[in-house]
Symmetry: D2
Subunit: 255 residues, 4 copies
């Protein structure tokens, strides 16, 4: 039986600023990456998002970021290895406080935005994050871009990793995502997105925009939650996968 994890960034609202429709998305996913207050989230939102994840049996992950609320963690900031390491320790530890408060369990860590992107292509960032996750708890699963330094550093640190792929984004011949600035970057039809995921899950392949077939390891699919129509799209993806016999479940339940 084939299974795949659907993960989504959750708890990114803060104060009166609402980001995403967590109540609509949570029932559709198997893993929630919960913001830790540095790009989104605040203590009350963090606490409530853990409760919501528990209610739907969704695996809880930490979603640490650069300290940059103004840019929602989307700008690349040059930090050294120790700064990145301690940045992750701080945020994951803060989330752990709310997890303990709710008798929940932290399963994974997925860096956010620019931190995720830099970890994928920059060894210093990848290694610092992997070390921090291991220092917090070597049982934690590190989420990262499939085939990137993030995964490599996680494995080198002895962590269990989870390779992330995208349902709604096209791939270029070098394995990277087509930049959003290009017209064919987004797969708007959920049926095509389901096909892409199925080919990745069943065959370990993805067809690039030029038609080339690349090998890819797919352990979790990123669901976007903060775009208009996100819940409808996510629902179509989930339903499409289930209709094709794929079970949606987090990676820990496979172990």
């Amino acid at each position: 039986m084939i299974s795949i994890d659907l993960n989504c960034d959750m708890g990114e609202s803060f104060g009166p600023s609402i980001v995403g429709d967590d109540a609509a998305i949570m029932p559709l996913i198997s893993s929630a990456n919960i913001a830790c207050g540095f790009h989104g989230g605040d203590p009350i939102v963090m606490n409530n998002t853990i409760k919501l994840a528990k209610q739907f049996g969704v695996s809880i992950g930490a979603h640490p970021s650069f300290f940059d609320l103004k840019n929602f963690g989307r700008k690349e900031i040059q930090l050294n290895e120790e700064e990145i390491f301690q940045l992750v320790i701080y945020q994951v530890s803060a989330l752990l406080g709310f997890i303990k408060l709710n008798n929940a369990k932290l399963i994974h860590v997925k860096p956010h935005g620019a931190l995720y992107n830099m970890a994928a292509r920059n060894k210093t960032y990848a290694v610092a994050i992997a070390k921090a996750v291991k220092a917090i708890d070597p049982q934690l699963i590190l989420y990262g871009l499939a085939g990137s330094y993030s995964i490599e550093a996680g494995l080198a640190a002895g962590l269990k990793t989870c390779a992330e792929v995208f349902a709604d984004r096209t791939y270029q011949d070098d394995g990277s995502l087509t930049p959003r600035s290009q017209p064919d970057a987004i797969i708007k039809d959920p049926a095509l997105a389901v096909e892409q995921v199925l080919m990745m899950v069943e065959n370990g392949k993805v067809k690039t925009i030029t038609g080339k077939l690349l090998s890819v390891k797919a352990e979790t699919v990123c669901i976007h939650g903060d775009t208009p129509g996100a819940a409808v799209y996510a629902k179509a993806i989930r339903k499409g996968l289930e209709q094709r016999g794929v079970t949606i479940r987090s990676i820990k339940s496979e172990g």
Copy 2:
């Protein structure tokens, strides 16, 4: 044998901004209130300050604050009870991450600046903080202004509390500190400060600026670390107390 705890706010530097002379003060105190990043401190500073406290056998406390780096946590912000509760959970939990990383132990919590002041005179703040500290770990000791709502709420929550007095500040007839705006607010002579502490510790009394004697419970003395000459003053206080036979030690070692 008489003993007293000397506590000081530590780890309030952040990035390249240096606050206080932690290296000079740490050997002089028995309890360190470590900033948690909201008014001062950053992940690297938090980590290093825990190491420094361990090195000198100083008890470690969390020093949570309003989220206000710009004003160093010194402005009063109106929050509701849950916001205060979760504010404390977040910061203390973040510090706990670094404490775990260093195989250290968290002993107490002392709110910072405006949060400390509001907790002293506002029941909602006092109760929210006490509940948060208890939720994190009922063995934690809550530091608060002697005779204030902070202490009352801590005791009501079943926490061990530690009543704070001031060596270098004069008291008014109503038991409050003389505002810094007044000329006789500060006790500049360390010898007089030692006398004030001794009277509080030995007799449970403090002489006000008008000469009245008030009852006061003194379990810890606040040492200021971020003023010019702070280390010299603190050294004089410590030496003066020791010469009069007072042992400097944190409250936990009395238990």
Copy 3:
């Protein structure tokens, strides 16, 4: 001929965080209060919002706030008079840079959120804001809650003021708005909201939730832009007023 100003908070998005639907609201209003980066807004958004206001001939105002992105300027912060004065100077001056860049003109200043509320009931805040507005340009119009200290301080400073009323909120017998926590706080039917505005504009009266008639001076109506359905509601208000012969225009065009 009767006229009224419709004002709305604009330009409160920042980075990738979208607040409100400015493109839909701008054509419906006569005055835009543009966020200055302290609770919302960023330099690019400020610049673009000025362009949008110009495009629709909407009067431009500055919308200064406490420095508190995390809480969207909705928390009360205790500042002294000079701090409030300079807070306003800073933000309005920053906006003036973008106004100059776009050959536009600043017409009014309306404080945001908690700063607006505190100015309405606290003389120190009201006076500091009025002084700052006057210091920047004595021709600026100060917006404030009708009948509040804001207006009083503006007039005392020799400023032209603009008394704000609410279309979608009910009033209590003391003239204050019914708190949102109460079930009858919001006027959900735009037709009733139009009636309330008409009575205020034509007769200078508002009917409270107990049926009492209070005198009120109405020079501008606050349109909320950041709630779901805000644009539809605003459109209904505007259309309703126009159908009853009320001209929508900013206060400056009356002079």
Copy 4:
């Protein structure tokens, strides 16, 4: 007669956080780069620093930065050209508000920290800053690292520029400063620093750490104000230059 400008970053304190000893440094310099609140400074400090500069007849400049109080503007952040442009517009405009309030005059703009460094070696940053300065006022003088893209972009934009050199730092053979991590990075003896400045001002040359002579254009010397002993060092530099017949004055007074 030979003259040189001595410039120093000023007004970088914020709230109760004190950075540098502005009162001691201001009388020693001819140009003050005043922080605009993004890495340091706050509205009250900005206002007071302008007053202090006026008092000593020091030329006033804006010192814009990345929005990063936590790291004092010392971290490189990837922004696009428009973001950099508007970042500068915002901050310089905010400072202009206080300048107008004090009937002062803005003479120059010098980017701070990581923004300065990126502008020196990255054309996009250099061009965006130059365009912003010109858009605010084409009479403003742009300060930048001597021989860098900053100066090139300023000249290309038609701005008057001011090439900055360092008195207390050694140069490498490629013209760059020796990194602080290296033992010979700092010139600790003010007499040697004076010699370096004199050679740059009189002969347009600097001797590198290997003894090579490089050409350099020196129009302003950076004085560091936030290190221990900064005022003493700055005083020695100023006195040494004056004893050698060099007049200390800002570039505008040469025009």
